[in-house]
Amino acid sequence: MDDAAIQGLDDFLQRVPYVRYLGMRVELAGDEMTAVLPFAPHLIGNPMLPALHGGVIGAFLEMTALAQLSLAQPARRVPKTIDITIEYLRPARAQETYARAILRKVGRRIANVQVEAWQDSRAQLVAGLTGHFLLRPEA
């Protein structure tokens, strides 16, 4: 992983106020990125279970897709989200959540990205996202 890519990813995450609001961070093992969303009380959407808000999960998955794109194309401006489909597989409990993104296609203008989120076990996904993103020229 080259330093420019990691620096670009770090800049992207540090500069976005909403990323700090969620409390999200990323971890890198070589070029494999895992996004981490530590539990925080303000992320709860269902106080009875309790479970994280569906919007929080959707936002976390979308930010993971954008972070993965930023890592792949450090010189470019942050892509714009065109559309996302979020599938909720089971309640996301009040605990730390993880996500990884796969860049299924990165074209000249459009990228198709798939993201999966889990908690205790990678085999027990809590949610998935597929999205299209508009790639923008170099900054």
Binding site: P17, Y18, L22, H42, L43, A59
Partner: protein, 145 residues
Amino acid sequence: MRMSDSYDTATLAARMTEYVPHALALGLKLVAVGQGRGTMTVAWREDLVGDPDTGVIASGVVTALIDHTCGLAINAAFDLPAPIATLDLRIDYLRAAAPRTGVTCEAFGYKTTRSIGFVRAEAWDVDRGDLIATAQAAFMINPRS
């Protein structure tokens, strides 16, 4: 959160806002509710910005607002509070919201069965006729039963 009231007896407006920590944290407000439909809004705030260069609210906030308003519309289709769970949510982002501007969402449950609710939603920043996002969602009703 008003601990003296139970969730079941609280008004729908209260159940959609003050009883939900994330709705409270984002400052989601209920604007209107009718049979199978509802409108909610979120005000612009510095810590909810997604693009620091422009000051535009994060799409994640719009996602949460849409998800929540769709849930309101499903709840508003029933007389009693029913537990619900989002199955899927598709959002088209038509354009970025205006800088330093909040977002409003109206959702309409156009079909509910005993187990599933189908909802469409639209979101705008300034003008109801100039949308920033449209959405379609399916909800499971009484997921535990």
